[in-house]
């Protein structure tokens, strides 16, 4: 089976004035379609940086990256934005929903912005996704009237809107209480199982990692067990 993500020799060095900090030191990473992978590591180990590079939010200093068979390191900013929009989904620790929009509109947003409007088909899919994440009774609620856990479930539905092959989650349960976090984890496992969507979940929480099918640990900028 062809790997969904293949990263080879990814290196990342940040410059802060005259000081250079090497965060990633030639990381190799392979994700197969349908995997639910936890990316673990201590603070400063470079896991968020690696997640951002795989999510095309950051350009690596060196190395090659292929996603779904396409080399992406040479893409322009616009091409990277289009790639993210069509093929990647994101779940962040802080949901950052658009407060002036309803739950349905927030979910439909990634599809509506490039299209210019929320079409009836987009609205239907957004509502289906909200029903699936257990928010059928909150579809027309403004984002500001949802609880923290509900907002994060809306964020998961939003990440699924464009049927991405790869979903990148950065501490998705980090700002939730234990009950809400469990629901979110269950939901991600369900999506992974039923939609065959690949998840790369960046976390420092062993409990989250235990619910994943594979774990990758970053240690001082290098991968153990890639």
């Amino acid at each position: 089976m062809r790997a969904l993500v293949e990263a080879r020799g990814i290196g990342m060095t940040f410059r802060n004035g005259d000081e250079l900090t090497e965060v990633l030191k030639g990381v190799d990473l392979t994700l197969q379609p349908g995997e639910l992978v936890a990316l673990l590591g201590a603070s400063g180990s470079g896991k968020s940086t690696l997640l951002s590079i795989v999510g095309l939010l950051l350009r690596p200093t060196r190395g090659t990256l292929s996603i779904a068979g396409q080399r992406v390191e040479g893409l322009s900013d616009l091409e990277r934005a289009q790639f993210r929009n069509r093929r990647l989904g994101f779940i962040f620790q802080f949901h950052h929903l658009l407060p002036d929009f309803t739950a349905t509109e927030n979910v439909a947003f990634p599809a509506a912005a490039p299209a210019g409007a929320i079409s009836p088909a987009m609205r239907r899919r957004a509502r289906d996704l909200l029903a699936r994440v257990g928010l059928a009774d909150r579809m027309d609620f403004p984002a500001t009237r949802l609880s923290g856990g509900q907002k994060q479930r809306v964020a998961i539905a939003r990440a699924l809107m464009n049927k991405p092959e790869l979903i990148l989650a950065d501490e998705p349960t980090g700002s939730l209480d234990r009950v809400a976090a469990e629901k979110v984890l269950d939901l991600m496992r369900e999506v992974n199982r039923e939609d065959k969507a690949t998840f790369l979940i960046c976390t420092h929480d062993e409990h989250v990692a235990a619910r994943c099918t594979r774990r990758i640990t970053l240690n001082d900028g290098s991968v153990d067990g890639a």
Binding site: S52, G55, L57, L58, L78, A81, Q82, F83, R84, N85, R86, L88, F90, F92, F94, H96, L97, L98, P99, D100, F101, F109, P110, A112, A113, P114, A115, G116, A117, I118, R158
Partner: protein
């Protein structure tokens, strides 16, 4: 357009802040309209006051200048002598009048004989400027007949109309005889047919009106006239038309602006002051819009970061902020224009105890289209910096914050 929906939602998300912002824009636009209408009204009033009883353009013969005549003998110089007794006149005035009558910008024409004379009543003598005109068109330039306070405006063959101050100085009233002695040394006894009062001292004290036929023998002009006075539909076009008429007729054409250069300078200075005030009021409006949108862009960094992460283009983000500027500008300018018009219309109705307008304001001169366009375009330009900074936001940095 989804960017428009987002822009609209952003504006409605904080109604009180948006209302304050639009109120600020409206206030600036209202001030702009008020200043423009006031300056326009003042200019109209001054122009009307100056031109109500005088011509917009005067055509007169070119002044003769003594010149050296060519001579075959280099040692001899001949000079053409100009008779100071011979009056300057327009001989072919009828063809000139025909030409003027065909011009669409000209509303009235009055061929005249103007000259100096004395009015003698007993031992009282007073200098007068005589204006002799066709009695059928006595009101062509100055509406004398409506200013008559005693007698009437029928000049006839031996009639004269004089101003109220002149009548008072000479002890004259309508129906009484008076001797007119012209600068040609010719005397004629005339009857005061009417006394007028314009309120302008220069006219009421120094001007007398005669029939042009009565004036011909008195000023030794059996055929010609001394000047043609012209009124225009639009006094503002007098300068350009005067230039054209000078070239077309060869006569000296003087516009009312030329005759009142100091007034024109005052109007220009007033207009420049107004422009300065208008510019500052617009700049303050635009700074307000730019700062409000910059704050909004900063407050929404997280949302913008997420949008960018999901592949929403920088152009979309920029469009959201530019559209907010456009909406604020259009709505604010629209409300400001309406408030400005209402304010000016109300001020126009206020009068002083003597019944005249309290403020020389002209609501129609508010410059509404100009201020609407300037504010709308300016508001979009003011939102360029917040739009640009929002569009360039690094999604990762914004999300992590």
């Amino acid at each position: 357009m989804f960017a428009f929906t987002v822009a609209r939602r952003y504006l409605f998300s904080n109604p009180s802040q948006t209302a304050l912002l639009i109120s600020g824009v409206s206030l600036g636009v209202t001030a702009f309209v008020f200043i423009t209408a006031l300056i326009g009204g003042l200019a109209i009033r001054l122009t009307n006051d100056v031109t109500a009883n005088s011509a917009h353009i005067s055509l007169e013969p070119e002044t003769r200048i003594a010149r050296v005549l060519p001579s075959p003998d280099a040692e001899l110089e001949s000079v053409a002598i100009i008779s100071t007794f011979q009056r300057l006149q327009i001989r072919a005035w009828k063809s000139t009048v025909s030409l003027l009558q065909s011009h669409p910008d000209i509303s009235a024409i009055s061929p005249q004989i103007s000259g100096s004379a004395f009015l003698v009543k007993g031992e009282a003598v007073s200098p007068v400027a005589v204006t002799a005109l066709d009695p059928a068109f006595i009101d062509a330039i100055s509406s004398i007949s409506t200013e008559i306070i005693s007698g009437d405006a029928s000049l006839g063959a031996d009639g004269i109309l004089i101003g109220s101050r002149l009548a008072e100085n000479l002890g004259l009233s309508s129906g009484q005889p008076v001797l007119l002695r012209t600068d040609r040394g010719i005397d004629r006894l005339l009857i005061v047919r009417g006394v007028f009062e314009t309120g302008l001292q220069s006219l009421d004290e120094r001007v007398a009106y005669l029939s042009i036929q009565t004036a011909r023998p008195l000023f030794l002009l059996p055929e010609g006239i001394t000047n043609i006075e012209i009124k225009l539909y639009d006094p503002g076009g007098a300068r350009e038309l005067a230039t054209f008429l000078h070239e077309a007729t060869g006569l000296r054409a003087t516009s009312w602006q030329e005759k009142n250069a100091s007034l024109e300078g005052a109007l220009d200075a007033q207009s420049q002051t107004g422009t300065l005030i208008q510019t500052f009021s617009l700049i303050s409006v635009l700074i307000g819009i730019a700062s409000a949108l910059s704050l909004s862009a900063n407050r929404r960094r997280g949302e913008i970061g997420i949008m960018r992460a999901f592949g929403v283009s920088g152009a979309f983000i920029a469009a959201v902020f530019l559209l907010q500027g456009l909406l604020i500008g259009m709505v604010g300018a629209g409300i400001g224009c309406a408030c400005g018009f209402a304010l000016c219309s109300w001020l126009e109705t206020l009068t002083k105890p003597d019944g005249t307008m309290a403020l020389p304001i002209a609501p129609g001169e508010g410059g509404y289209l100009v201020v609407f366009l300037l504010t709308t375009i300016g508001a979009v330009l003011a939102s360029v910096i917040p739009a640009w900074s929002a569009a360039r936001l690094d999604p990762l940095e914004a999300i992590q914050q």
